[in-house]
């Protein structure tokens, strides 16, 4: 690549990198802070002495977590949930995206379906009807309730559909000439080419289900059935002081255990932090959305 290698250019590049590094550090700060708090001594944290360096380093919080049976139970429930959701989402989205990627010339009611999906993405009936629907479907307290309860992930369908739309037409046409039906085309041709976008929606699904906590609170009747984030939220959420229950009062000291909370938060983030770079390879390539020619 022809490029001017003048001093200005070098300075510009250096400054650029510097700026990037600053911004990146800014992003890592809160995570770092959480880690630091989780490793510090409780009293020091409560006294507000801890900022960027742990004070009185101790692994006590992490020890408590390891000894806490429920933490791992919830962890496992989240893993289960993510697994089922990923598999189901993968197939459903893939299947849906194909017909929707056709033009309305090739598939007459395509627009109808598409707008139906958009409508469902925007409108919802609220917490109470949702709960009642789940109840009548018998999905209260069920992991399938968590997996399916969020409804069809329309955004993902749109992403994959756009990707399909921008694949070269020749591929499909030659397959048709060979007499291939839609299923063959979808699974034999489109699917192998779609690794990037599929990896992308995989990441979205994993992150989305891993972090979701609210629906689980409504749907699950027992503490033991909570996925991880709901479980963590219970112990870290700011309690509404005017509506506090008798029980929590007594356990005053454990409620304000900021180090333990920080440790729980940090541990719950770890799987995502580990998985994500792994997928990033595909993820990065993936979201061209066919928008770039060449």
């Amino acid at each position: 690549m022809i490029e001017e290698r003048s001093a200005i250019s070098k300075f510009y590049n250096g400054f650029n990198v510097f700026l990037i590094i600053c911004i990146t550090l800014l992003c890592i700060l809160p995570v770092w802070y959480t880690l630091v708090v989780s490793l510090s001594d409780r009293a020091a944290v409560a006294a507000g002495e801890v900022f960027f360096i742990p004070k009185g380093i101790t692994l006590a919080s992490y020890q408590t977590i390891i000894e806490d049976g429920q933490f791992f139970k919830s962890f496992f429930i989240s893993v289960q949930r993510v697994f089922y959701a990923t598999v189901i989402t993968f197939f459903v989205v893939l299947l849906m995206a194909y017909p929707l990627s056709k033009t309305s010339k090739d598939f007459r009611f395509r627009n109808v379906f598409m707008w139906l999906l958009i409508f469902c993405m925007l409108f919802n009936g609220g917490m109470v009807p949702w709960y009642m629907t789940m109840k009548s479907l018998g999905l209260i307290n069920s992991i399938w309730g968590l997996v399916l309860g969020g409804g069809l992930p329309v955004f993902n369908v749109i992403l994959v559909m756009n990707f399909f739309r921008n694949l070269p037409k020749e591929m499909e046409e030659s397959a048709l000439i060979d007499g291939a039906g839609p299923w063959r085309i979808l699974f034999g041709i489109f699917l192998p080419l779609s690794t990037p976008v599929l990896a992308t929606i995989l990441v979205f699904t994993i992150v989305g289900h891993w972090n979701e906590f609210f629906q689980a609170l409504l749907l699950m009747t027992k503490n033991e059935n909570y996925p991880l984030q709901s479980y963590i939220r219970q112990v870290t959420a700011n309690v509404d002081l005017t509506k506090l229950d008798a029980d929590s009062a007594k356990r005053l000291t454990s409620l304000s255990n900021q180090t333990l909370n920080a440790a729980k938060i940090f541990v719950s983030m770890l799987p995502l932090l580990v998985i994500y770079p792994f997928f990033q390879k595909y993820f990065v390539k993936g979201i061209t959305l066919g928008s770039v020619k060449g």
Binding site: G48, V128, K222, N238, L244, D245, A246, D247, K250, L255
Partner: protein
């Protein structure tokens, strides 16, 4: 914080229940016998003719009570026990054939959401605990069982006694002549001024009595940097908190500015009677205006935390020793444990101050919070009454020997604080007397005041001489660490409260009127915004007058009329 308040309460009733049973043997003598009334019923079933129903009879067939429960996920049960299946619930099944099931559980922070959902979707458990707003919703939606008869028929003497000693309580949950809930008994609570006495001593200052005194003390603390470079004078409301308790939510006056208002004879947030004898909203009175003027002044001079309403956690300032003054109820002692741990010399003492110009100590009365409700279609509301009977009365010998562990609200379903109106006073006074040896431990009324007995039996381990000095150095924090916090809170905080001569002002209204339902959130927003801005200096004091005008225009007038009709 309501939570600390409840520490006492839980322990109180829990221990009351536990110890009550130890004072009882085969059931011929029971708590009922301790009153002047003849017992209405007792375990042996020898009814005295009040009714043919034995409130303590074991059911022939198991009766299932399905509950919605708030639980604490960090609570340690005995062995593999859970909230649904533990020593207490098993005993309930064995002794009374009452089977507890949990229809759903939620952590305290999400419990309200779950209840709201249950109400909204009309999918209710047999019984659960709710707050006042939820109670009214359920009454409106006709979802509740009428408990009037079952209460009369099945309630024990003791239960009725407890409610009688707390006047107005049952009336509050009676709608159209029907009893729709079993309310919790609450103790009125007033905010005390908590000060670092060691700082006062160091600067040679006397304990403050008036607002002017308080101002001087705060100033001295700041000028002398007693809490370090960034000493804060008075710490109060944090982000998300309120400036004072209101008639709808109290927060028990913890870490807000109620005290300053009270000392100016102002009662914002509740409904008072004005000079003409009519109801008026406290926040629109002249006195409130003056209190705001004072607070504005204080803030400008740095007396009050500059980050009023912004601070992430006011508690942190206390724990880290950066401030020496805050306002809180008698049980604030519990919240000081962390502070004392990080600085064993921190000598926090409460004072029944500031007094108003006439030397009086004012306070408004806080409102209750929890109610047991039973759903309309439940076939056995008597089972719930029975559970309450059991809760407030003694338990059988078998339970006592089987258990031996203090039962808390985690084990006991439908837990409410049920006590005589004077439980705190008794606790404080009696413990003091046992400490000095004036009365013997055995003389403590274990039956009615179980927790006091607990306190009294540990007090000698925790308090050193001189017995009537509650400064921090005269406590043994180590020997009996668990009870240190209880005794510290009760004796240090509790005594100041109990000994204080308090002028109580009660709110004329304790729940929403019709117009409030659609206008109150708007009016409240106007109030909160205006007041905070006035204090912090971003609005002039005259803004208050504009506020009163707008408030009346936007529905306040109408609401005031409605409250007038309540009187």
């Amino acid at each position: 914080m309501k939570k600390s308040f409840k520490i006492l309460a839980i322990s109180l009733v829990a221990a009351l229940s536990v110890t009550a049973c130890s004072g009882n043997n085969t059931g011929t003598t029971n708590t009922g016998a301790n009153n002047s009334n003849t017992p209405a019923a007792n375990n042996a079933g020898s009814g005295t003719g009040e009714s043919t129903v034995d409130p303590f009879a074991k059911y022939d067939e198991p009766v299932v009570v399905s509950l919605g429960r708030a639980i604490d996920p960090t609570y340690k049960y005995e062995g593999t026990d859970t909230a649904e299946d533990n020593l207490y619930t098993r005993w309930l099944k064995d002794a009374y054939n009452i089977e507890i099931k949990h229809e759903w559980e939620a952590a305290s922070s999400d419990y309200g959401q779950k209840v709201s959902l249950a109400i909204g979707s009309n999918d209710l458990p047999d019984a659960m605990l709710v707050d006042e707003t939820q109670l009214r919703q359920m009454v409106k939606a006709d979802q509740l069982a009428d408990l009037t008869e079952v209460y009369e028929k099945y309630g024990t003497e003791r239960l009725k006694q407890i409610y009688d000693s707390n006047p107005g309580l049952l009336e509050g949950v009676t709608f159209d002549g029907k009893l729709y809930a079993l309310p919790e008994t609450t103790l009125p609570s007033a905010p005390l001024t908590w000060i670092r006495k060691d700082w006062l001593d160091e600067l040679g200052l006397p304990e403050p009595k008036s607002l002017a005194d308080l101002e001087a003390v705060a100033k001295a603390f700041i000028d002398n940097k007693m809490g370090g470079e960034n000493t804060v004078g008075i710490v109060a409301t944090q982000q998300g908190g309120s400036l004072y308790s209101t008639f709808l939510s109290s927060g028990d006056h913890f870490l807000n500015l109620s005290s300053v208002f009270f000392a100016k004879d102002a009662y914002p947030g509740i409904w008072v009677t004005n000079d003409e004898g009519n109801a008026q909203y406290g926040s629109t009175t002249e006195e409130t205006r003056e209190a705001l003027a004072l607070l504005k002044d204080w803030y400008a001079n740095g007396i009050i935390d500059k980050e009023l309403g912004l601070r992430k956690s006011s508690q942190e300032l206390i724990t880290s020793g950066q401030t020496g003054i805050f306002f809180g109820p008698w049980w604030s002692g519990y919240n000081l444990m962390d502070a004392i741990k990080s600085d064993p010399e921190a000598n926090w003492r409460p004072y029944a101050a500031p007094l108003n110009d006439a030397g009086q100590f004012n306070s408004n009365q806080t409102t209750g919070s929890s109610y047991i409700v039973v759903k309309k279609s439940y076939e056995n509301p008597d089972a719930v009454i029975k559970m309450m009977n059991i809760h407030v009365n003694e338990k059988q010998e078998s339970y006592k020997t089987a258990v031996g562990k203090e039962m808390t609200s985690q084990e006991i379903p439908l837990f409410l604080i049920m006590g005589h109106g004077d439980q705190l006073e008794y606790a404080v006074k009696t413990t003091q007397k046992v400490l000095t040896g004036e009365i013997a431990l055995e003389e403590v009324d274990k039956l009615n005041y179980g927790f006091t007995y607990e306190l009294a039996s540990h007090v000698k381990n925790v308090k050193t001489e001189p017995f009537d000095n509650y400064d921090i150095q005269y406590w043994d924090q180590v020997t009996d660490a668990d009870f240190f916090q209880h005794l510290y809170a009760h004796l240090n905080g509790g005594s100041a409260f109990v000994d204080a001569d308090i002028h109580w002002v009660k709110s004329l209204a304790t729940a929403q009127t019709k117009t409030m339902q659609s206008k109150w959130s708007n009016l409240k927003k106007l109030e909160d915004e205006t007041f905070l801005k006035i204090i912090m200096g971003s609005a002039p004091l005259e803004e208050f007058d504009t506020f009163v005008e707008k408030w009346n225009q936007q529905g306040g007038d109408q609401i005031t009329e409605e409250v007038n009709e309540l009187k």
